[in-house]
Amino acid sequence: MITEREFLERARLDSRTLSVWIEEEWLIPARAADELAFTDMDLARANLIRDLKDNMGVNHEGLGIVLHLLDQMHALRRALAAALESAHDRRPSPD
């Protein structure tokens, strides 16, 4: 678990930007004992958001859409992987 202070430092964010990102639900940190608790995944996602904004020129409005589609793509990839695995298991043995 990463505390809010450590997260701001490691993600190179200021706290105002962070609260906007949370407000937009681009980041969904856990809440433990009324404080925010971040994971390594949140950190990787914050880096992605920064890459999209700063290096690829995705604007504020577009970012939410990109993240939403990305997350749906990951869900589909997982579902597809599970289906392929299951189809593999059910394939009749050669004999």
């Binding site: 004992a33 749906q72 869900a75 599970a82 299951s86």
Partner: protein, 299 residues
């Protein structure tokens, strides 16, 4: 090492704006998170990011053009140690989107069944385990205690320390970890115990070790002296003619562990008085030993 102009696909005379445009175009195509199934995307993205680093910095670009540094001189550490895609590949996180296949999951065929099952698993995934370190007093480790951890993210956690806990041991507090991202059980808190050293006790397995200083008179004539144990003081009988290094055992005064209750091992240490004792000096000056004892006869 490839030529950074070549990597970005631009001329040597490209302007800063042209470099930026070329980089953005490639980054959008190659960013690992936009290519989750492409294992090579990360390598290619790093190459492009490295080239951009070099050429977007006026000074670095000048030195590269002048042949002062090569392309590798500007290669930076990977921008992210792990990409978002590495985490998103697993389910059960708050960013999971299921709406993308909601329509497929309605049916009663195999694929729909699989989708429902994977969504259900994600929903029930437990929270993460949280790790803490708890320094405790030596005597609390021996006798057990209740301790309160102040959590870094605020709030507190009550920890019951069982008697006989050892340095480095980890206590698991069920359900005191991070909450589940879905509707599963919360994780556990794992508390690693760090036992602080004591002023005069040390521990060896279930036994407590103590160096006990005694006076010359107590050592010579024997005595009963007050001796600290981990549960309070007891009177310890020092035999006549005791010596530095002699070991006395206080049975059952050690650590209560699951296997056995240890002993306290008291090692005597004979001390000369630090104040001037004229009578002792005078006596020893006149003293003619009856025996032939030589403390250095083995040397």
């Amino acid at each position: 090492m490839k030529d950074p102009y070549e990597i970005l696909g631009i001329a040597k005379t490209a302007s800063a704006e042209e470099i930026r445009t070329a980089y953005r175009k490639l980054a959008k195509k190659l960013h690992p998170d936009l290519n989750p199934g492409d294992k090579q995307a990360e390598e290619r993205f790093k190459e492009v990011a490295g080239a951009n680093d070099l050429l977007s910095d006026q000074e670095k670009r000048r030195r590269f053009d002048a042949g002062e540094i090569d392309a590798s001189g500007a290669e930076r550490a990977p921008p992210n140690a792990r990409y978002y895609r590495d985490y998103a590949a697993e389910g059960g996180h708050p960013y999971e989107g299921q709406s993308a296949y909601g329509d497929f999951a309605q049916g009663d065929d195999l694929f729909a069944e699989l989708l429902r099952r994977s969504a259900e698993q994600a929903r029930r995934r437990p929270g993460a385990d949280l790790h803490y370190e708890l320094p405790i007093d030596f005597l609390d480790a021996v006798n057990g205690a209740t301790n309160t951890i102040t959590l870094p993210q605020g709030g507190t956690l009550d920890v019951t320390i069982p008697a006989g806990v050892e340095d480095g041991q980890t206590l698991r507090l069920r359900g005191k970890g991070a909450p589940s991202p879905g509707e599963g059980q919360p994780g556990d808190a794992l508390v690693q115990i760090v036992v602080k050293p004591h002023r005069y006790f040390t521990r060896e397995g279930a036994d407590i070790l103590l160096d006990l200083p005694i006076s010359v008179k107590e050592a010579a004539l024997g005595a009963e002296v007050r001796t600290p144990t981990t549960t309070g003081s007891v009177m310890l009988k020092i035999p006549k003619r005791s010596n530095t290094g002699d070991m006395l055992r206080l049975r059952g005064k050690g650590v209560k562990t699951r296997g056995r209750t240890g002993d306290e091992l008291v090692k005597l240490k004979v001390m000369m008085p630090t104040e001037v004792e004229p009578e002792l000096d005078a006596f020893l000056a006149d003293w003619k030993p009856a025996g032939t004892y030589d403390p250095r006869k083995e040397m």
